[in-house]
Symmetry: C2
Subunit: 136 residues, 2 copies
Amino acid sequence: MQDSIEQKCIKKGVKLTDQRKIIAKVMSEAHDHPDVDELYKRVSSIDPKISIATVYRTVKLFEEVGILTKHEFKGSKARYEEINEGHHDHLIDLKSGEIIEFVDYEIEKLQKKVADKYGYTLVDHKLELYGVKKKS
Amino acid sequence: MQDSIEQKCIKKGVKLTDQRKIIAKVMSEAHDHPDVDELYKRVSSIDPKISIATVYRTVKLFEEVGILTKHEFKGSKARYEEINEGHHDHLIDLKSGEIIEFVDYEIEKLQKKVADKYGYTLVDHKLELYGVKKKS
DNA sequence: GTAGATGCAAAGTATTTGCGACAAG
DNA sequence: CTTGTCGCAAATACTTTGCATCTAC
């Protein structure tokens, strides 16, 4: 089983305050990719006293220690997602905004090859596909 | 030979003001990927009276009519680049910020295949590789 | 001549930060 | 205890917009 965000914090030596516990819980349970406003709303419904500054500070911290990852999809606000063992990329439905996660090992392999070709070690990558549903 | 941005404006029925001509010229000659501030600086050195609002309005317009494309690389400001016949993706040097353009048809093909697999027609995509130079 | 473009300053968003009060380890 | 965190409000960064004036076609 996967560690919860709280457990990851402990492992990484991140101090666990009540606020962080709540944000951790909300992000652990989120199966979408909430932006800060949305996350703030969810968190506020558990503890209305949490400030948005804390939410910003916490997602930034969690990102720095490798618990969350930030996405900046075309023309929308920054969204966050928990990092789990399986890396994946995103296919975004341009009509509905729906986000589909996918993995393609062959593309990953080719990316490394490209970086290699230019004398680089691939550290990270971003692949986003934007599409519209085919009328079957 | 490739049309200049000015020529593209005419073809697309975009009214050519002096300001737009200058912005068009600067972007045509830019071989990097300037952000709005940088573009504003270059444009200002030709005509210091141009306002930054006009620069914002113009890049937005040029983007809408398909003359420029906007990139939002990790943690940096929006950057613009002229669209030319050859589509390409970007490899970003995490140390120096240098941007290398590349094309990989095999990756492109696989992207279409992925979209297809989920029942989508691929409209657009974003692929960015982030790497560090290998010590040869 | 007229619709649309510009410059300016003010208003919007999204995000960060200084500071005094407070809490985790 | 002490260091780091929190809430608040102010500050910052980037981008858009209302309005009066001006200009390309």
